[in-house]
């Protein structure tokens, strides 16, 4: 028998985005809000991110992941916000009916508003088609992190890391401190995909080399990984024949990108952005399905949790407004132009000031981002340097906008 209940707002996912969203929605006076979490405890990925550096923007101190999550979990408990753990959402309809598998059986919740905060997944080996054998010893960085930091399991003694994402670099440091040898990090792109500070404190501090424009072209080993073959890649990102080199190792860590987890969004008919692979949203974090909102890594993969919290909190006002009778139309499209990979949001109303987030398409120095509407500059942002690893935030004032013409953001290199 399926238990059926109703809630005004349901938050799917109790990680940093979901926690911040639920607290902020509760603070707006919507007390009938419920968090659904798949894991046995709240906190999401922060529970395994035991390194520090979280909360510098928000709290002005360098906290570890569990501490950062702890501050929000304490608030959830203080405010007596309802949550369910060990609760896996398996269905979501456009009418906002949620089906969840819980310890007590199936639960059906009809919600007036749904907040998607399911986070993201790692790109696995299968998504990269690296040729070779299928031995044990190949892990994604997050899985390696969970084994070491949550389950007290050491994964290997001699590691090679593919991809210069932040988690990969953080695992390079963690493995080294735990007594393993990390031979090198290989990155297919000509520039690093993680934050500069992580190259410094996770690689340079330990003398771990980072090879740009290199990739693993073969995985070798019968039972356990024995080595990887690494090749240089050309400007077309294709391996250059004759550059192959064998790197003996028993562990390969993949840190090759994160993909927003949108299986449920698709079920509900939410339109996804082909670049971010998260929902297309308006300035209210509302998706293409009215009453379904999205925030955090399910919307766009962030580099800093502080910004995840801010994004999640920003939807509380709009959720309340939606529940109280509806949100204004957002008819002005926002487009990514030259030098800009994407923008979030993709639609704005022109009725209020907004902050756009986007990523540069390549590293740039002395760059000026300009937002145009009908040939007029409506916002300008100058940066000394911009890299794809660091998300850019650009404010647009409603008073600068006229009519419903599209706003386009482009990068211009300053002479």
């Amino acid at each position: 028998m399926i238990k059926k209940i109703h809630r005004r707002a349901v938050v799917i996912g109790g990680g940093p985005a979901g926690l911040a969203a639920a607290i902020a929605i509760h603070d707006k006076g919507v007390e009938d809000v419920m968090i659904l979490e798949r894991e046995p405890r709240l906190g999401g990925i922060l529970n395994q991110c035991i390194h520090d550096g979280f909360g510098l923007t928000r709290f002005g101190e360098a906290l570890s992941g569990p501490e950062y999550a702890g501050r929000f979990i304490d608030l959830v408990n203080e405010k007596r916000i309802e949550y369910l753990t060990d609760c896996m959402v398996i269905g979501l309809t456009p009418e906002k009916v949620i089906t969840a598998a819980t310890r007590e059986g199936l639960l059906e919740i009809s919600a007036d508003a749904v907040i998607l905060s399911m986070g993201c997944r790692e790109r696995p080996r299968g998504a990269m088609s690296i040729p070779g054998d299928r031995p044990s010893g190949v892990f994604t960085a997050g899985v390696a992190q969970a084994y070491i930091n949550k389950q007290d399991l050491m994964i290997g003694k001699r590691a090679v890391i593919l991809g210069s994402g932040d988690i990969g670099m953080i695992m390079a440091r963690r493995l080294t401190l735990e007594g393993a040898r990390v031979e090198a990090v290989f990155e297919i792109l000509p520039y690093p995909s993680g934050l500069p500070r992580n190259i410094e404190q996770c690689l340079n501090d330990f003398g771990i080399p980072l090879y740009l424009s290199h990739t693993v072209t073969r995985i070798n080993g019968r039972k356990r990984l024995e080595s990887v073959t690494v090749s240089e890649v050309g400007p077309d990102m294709k391996p250059i024949p004759g550059t192959e080199k064998i790197w003996p190792c028993d562990t390969l860590i993949l840190s090759v990108g994160l993909i927003p987890e949108n299986e449920l969004s698709l079920q509900a008919g939410v339109e996804l952005d082909p670049v971010t692979r998260g929902p297309v949203t308006d300035e209210n974090c509302q998706t293409s399905v009215p009453g379904i909102f999205a925030c955090g890594n399910v919307l766009q993969v962030h580099d800093l949790v502080d910004f995840v919290s801010l994004e999640a909190e920003s939807l509380a006002g709009p959720v309340k407004e939606y529940l109280d009778g509806g949100l204004p139309d957002c008819r002005i499209p926002v487009e990514a132009g030259n030098g800009v990979r994407y923008t979030v949001p993709r639609r704005i109303s022109g009725g209020k000031d907004v902050t756009l987030s986007f990523r540069p398409s390549a590293p740039m120095r002395e760059v000026c981002y300009e937002a145009f509407q009908d040939g007029r500059v409506v916002s300008r942002l100058r940066l000394k340097k911009a890299v794809p690893a660091v998300m850019v935030h650009m404010d647009i004032k409603a008073s600068e906008l006229r009519g419903e013409g599209p706003v386009k953001v482009v990068a211009r290199i300053e002479e």
């Binding site: 520090d52 550096g53 906290l63 570890s64 569990p66 930091n149 401190l177």
Partner: protein
């Protein structure tokens, strides 16, 4: 002497150009804030880093409690601190913020728990 550093204090990752003589800093450029200036000074004298790891827990709902140093310690001593952490064992319950080792190796920082681990029900 001139050196280039990437500041690790915050995610801005400022690129610092530092001019120094021995352990005296003559100039520092590229930093967006005062903390970058202090970071540059420490880089030419004694670079400091926070250490994060985990400690074995007995009788807890999970096998490990995550820990960190309450303040950065000398980068040269990171592995010594990790050795101390590896030799430690604590009994559940452990509270977030609890000091598990005071003034580790006399470096002026404590090892503190960064999460709560409840005792397992018997």
């Amino acid at each position: 002497m001139k050196s280039e550093y990437i500041c690790t204090v915050c995610p801005n990752g400022c690129e610092l150009s530092v001019e120094y003589e021995g352990e005296t800093m003559i100039s520092c450029t590229g930093n967006l804030c005062r903390r970058g200036f202090e970071y540059a000074k420490s880089m030419i004298t004694d670079p400091m880093r926070s250490v994060t790891s985990s400690v074995l827990v007995e009788g807890g709902v999970m096998p490990l409690v995550s820990v960190r140093t309450s303040a950065p310690v000398s980068k040269k001593r990171m592995f010594d601190v990790v050795d101390v952490v590896k030799s430690m064992k604590v009994k559940a319950p452990v509270a977030m913020g609890q000091v598990l080792c005071e003034n580790v190796l006399g470096l002026g920082a404590d090892i503190i728990a960064t999460r709560t681990v409840e005792a397992a029900e018997k």
